[in-house]
Symmetry: C2
Subunit: 468 residues, 2 copies
């Protein structure tokens, strides 16, 4: 249900959603194929340290824990109530939540507005609002944070710890992001599936992200923006970058968004595009871009000018990059225009057939020492706003050593507050290098265009920062 | 140097470039850090079965092989001469090549036109043309094919065997593609770096690809299209699909293309865009799209109509897909418009809260059996032109079993000649599933938009096939 701005009582209580001292699971099942059982097992498996109270009217024990017949039987404070019960029971449980003064309710249950039961969903939502009980969901997959070893839902894995807050209306896409996190070292601060988003809104999680000390980038997957004013206000209020992927803009996508999360998109995609733009958020077009841009904004400082220097041992990666920079409206400049002195200095790190044009092609024979020197010179030149490095493995390229050179320079030049991004295009040794670079705070990508998108987002964020 | 059409003597001789019985390596060095040494080691390491003749005026043995002081000393037929000597010696060696009646010359040496020595490059090229000796290069990384265990150049690995012919002007991007091949099971039939492309042209490799029995898709990375008429004619002549990524269209990219491979782009990017379109080739924008589309065209039949059915267990993947289909000009249609009967049948494979809209959302609880049934129904419906499947791992999804279901259905329905593409978005188990699907002939991708691009290309190829 629509709101016009983030509600303070909701934002305040979201800490109980993501860092609860105690959780009651209503619908805690003894059968391992049930959601209400999986939730408890995942909480235990990943090392949640708070109290877990299974609630089941027909069980005394679930997964080795004492079970309670009703929420009221717990008799201890409950921060979060997780509901995995059939839809027609949910309303009664919400009354119990209010009775025991729970801080937040999370409803996993499906079959509400998305299949035509909008009345029931609205009834429950209004009840929660009347009693200032934030409701997350319904129709969601779960939420959690690696920093508290907290995995609450039917979610196969925690992400690696990091700086991106992942707020997703789609459970499947949230799970995909978590899988990517594990597989490609995409670090997250916390994650939440919002599902039908009946009550708690994007705007409220955006404001919570601003407060969360681990979060540096707030990323939102949206199927419908039913409270655009609240979104706009919260985005303008926060200092951290916000990345949005908004779907449902196509003719059939509009219908699919309703069938999936009961999201309504009464306005054209151009309208939502304008809202996101006015909000100063970055709108990603593809899922890959969404992840790539989020990673960069979570790891690197804003880019405060347009002068990017690219250093590569392969002309091909350079060409793909400069074409894509121009395509994205941030064309590269020749090095001699940025800094004639740097142009001369770069000559020391390349053979005769290299090119200091920009992309600076230090050639396929480049050693880790040549890379290091070129990176340092570029970083330290006061006319340079950002550095993009590329490793293209030839038979003589020591990919791991070049990655280490990048990590060393990045570490020693961090205080200059310039974005540093890497491309490692190739096979297994490049994948390994990407992982190590990411672990050391450098956004690294397998293709040139991904890195360019990341830099475009850092520049856009730089412009937003400059305005403030 | 420009040609106006592919020359028959060149196309005929390219079999000696990619399947030579004997190779002479001129500049065969005894020092392991030299290109002329690496070439011989790579040939041996990957199991090349033909004769290898090192040529070195100051050595009698190189890497355990008898060395010759001059090409003329070999006294046996030589199919391919590989040159890794300084630029100023190349001209003299070409005379030797003609003297011994070599079938093809491959020049790895750099420092020709790309650093201002266009005269020398043209002199050598004209000499080769006068004597009908095809010259590949100069300034290239190498060439090879996994089918002959043939890796000729300074290239760290062979690709996995497959159906894509990779013709790349950039060595670094070729190496990246080879690395991706190993890492992501992107199969290739053969690969070649063209470098400055002084003599042998894209068009001639495109016509060779048409003849090569392993090749099903011909993929070209181009920094300059200096013989557009020849490209156009060859693309129109061949029946196999051609994919092109053409760079150098940006202001700085135009200069970088010259600095890299001496490529000149006197016309606007719109001109080259039109040439590629008129040729009936698919133009990819990003490197990822280039690989994704090539893989699909190499594995699947053309798509002969617009009716795509998507089957997914996650609404998010469905939404990303239908938005991207519309963005790419191939909007999805509702299932009830494609086939009312299929709409009814699909209900059997989903719970109450699933959706048969299209994307067909069989929900997060979908079993491998449900997937199999849904895939089969979609495949067999005569109104359906192509099937897109998506796996989004929930805590209860058996990703490997669903992938196996896809492989089984694909195998049994191959004779229907409809494209089948998969999305597996997530972590390690999805990566493994993607590898298995690809090994079994199904193009599979980690994100929805990649799969959509693949299907758009299959449709475009279908339209080209229908015209013939």
């Amino acid at each position: 249900m629509k709101i016009t701005e983030a509600r303070p009582y909701v934002v305040k209580n979201l800490k109980y959603a993501l860092n609860p001292s105690s959780i009651a699971v209503v619908g805690a099942s003894r059968y391992p194929n049930k959601v209400g059982n999986a939730v408890i097992r995942e909480l235990q498996k990943w090392g949640y340290q708070g109290a877990i109270y299974p609630v089941n009217p027909r069980a005394d024990k679930v997964e080795g824990l004492k079970a309670y017949h009703r929420l009221q039987d717990i008799k201890k404070p409950v921060d979060l109530v997780f509901l995995a019960v059939p839809a027609h029971i949910v309303n009664a449980i919400m009354h119990d939540c209010v009775a025991i003064k729970a801080k937040v309710a999370v409803i996993a249950t499906s079959a509400f507005k998305e299949i035509g039961r909008g009345d029931l969903q609205d009834l429950i939502t209004q009840y929660c609002r009347d009693h200032e009980l934030p409701l997350i969901g319904p129709n969601l997959v779960g939420l959690g944070t690696p920093y508290a070893h907290f995995n609450c839902g039917f979610i196969p894995y925690l992400p690696v710890p990091g700086t991106v807050a992942m707020i997703s209306q789609s459970g499947a896409n949230l799970l995909a992001a978590l899988g990517t996190s594990q597989e490609n070292h995409f670090g997250m601060s916390f994650f939440v599936g919002l599902g039908n988003k009946a009550d708690v809104d994007f705007s409220e999680f955006i404001e919570y992200g601003e407060q969360d000390p681990h979060t540096k980038c707030i990323s939102v997957y949206s199927e419908g923006l039913d409270s655009p004013e609240a979104f706009l206000k919260s985005c303008k209020k926060v200092t951290k970058p916000v990345v949005v992927i908004k779907v449902g803009g196509s003719k059939i996508g509009n219908k699919a968004a309703f069938a999936h999360t009961a999201s309504e998109n009464p306005e054209s995609d151009a309208y939502y595009d304008k809202v996101i733009k006015d909000a100063g958020a970055y709108r990603a077009t593809t899922w890959q871009e969404f992840l790539d841009v989020s990673l960069a904004l979570g790891l690197q400082p804003p880019m405060m000018g347009d002068n990017i220097v690219m250093i590569t041992n392969g002309g091909g990666a350079g060409l793909l990059s400069c074409d894509h920079f121009e395509r994205r409206g941030l064309p590269m400049h020749e090095l001699k225009e940025i800094s004639p002195l740097l142009t001369q200095r770069m000559r020391a790190y390349m053979p005769m057939f290299g090119s200091p044009l920009n992309p600076v092609d230090i050639s396929g024979t480049a050693t880790p020492i040549a890379y290091k020197g070129a990176f340092q010179q570029a970083y330290r030149d006061p006319n340079v706003d950002a550095v993009l490095g590329a490793i293209c493995p030839t038979a003589i390229t020591d990919v791991a050593a070049v990655a280490q050179a990048a990590i060393d320079v990045h570490e020693s030049c961090k205080k200059l507050h310039k974005p540093f991004v890497m491309i490692c295009q190739g096979g297994g040794e490049c994948h390994d290098a990407i992982m190590r670079l990411r672990d050391n705070g450098i956004p690294a990508y397998a293709t040139a265009e991904q890195a360019v998108n990341a830099m475009v987002a850092l520049r856009q964020y730089g412009k937003k920062v400059a305005k403030k």
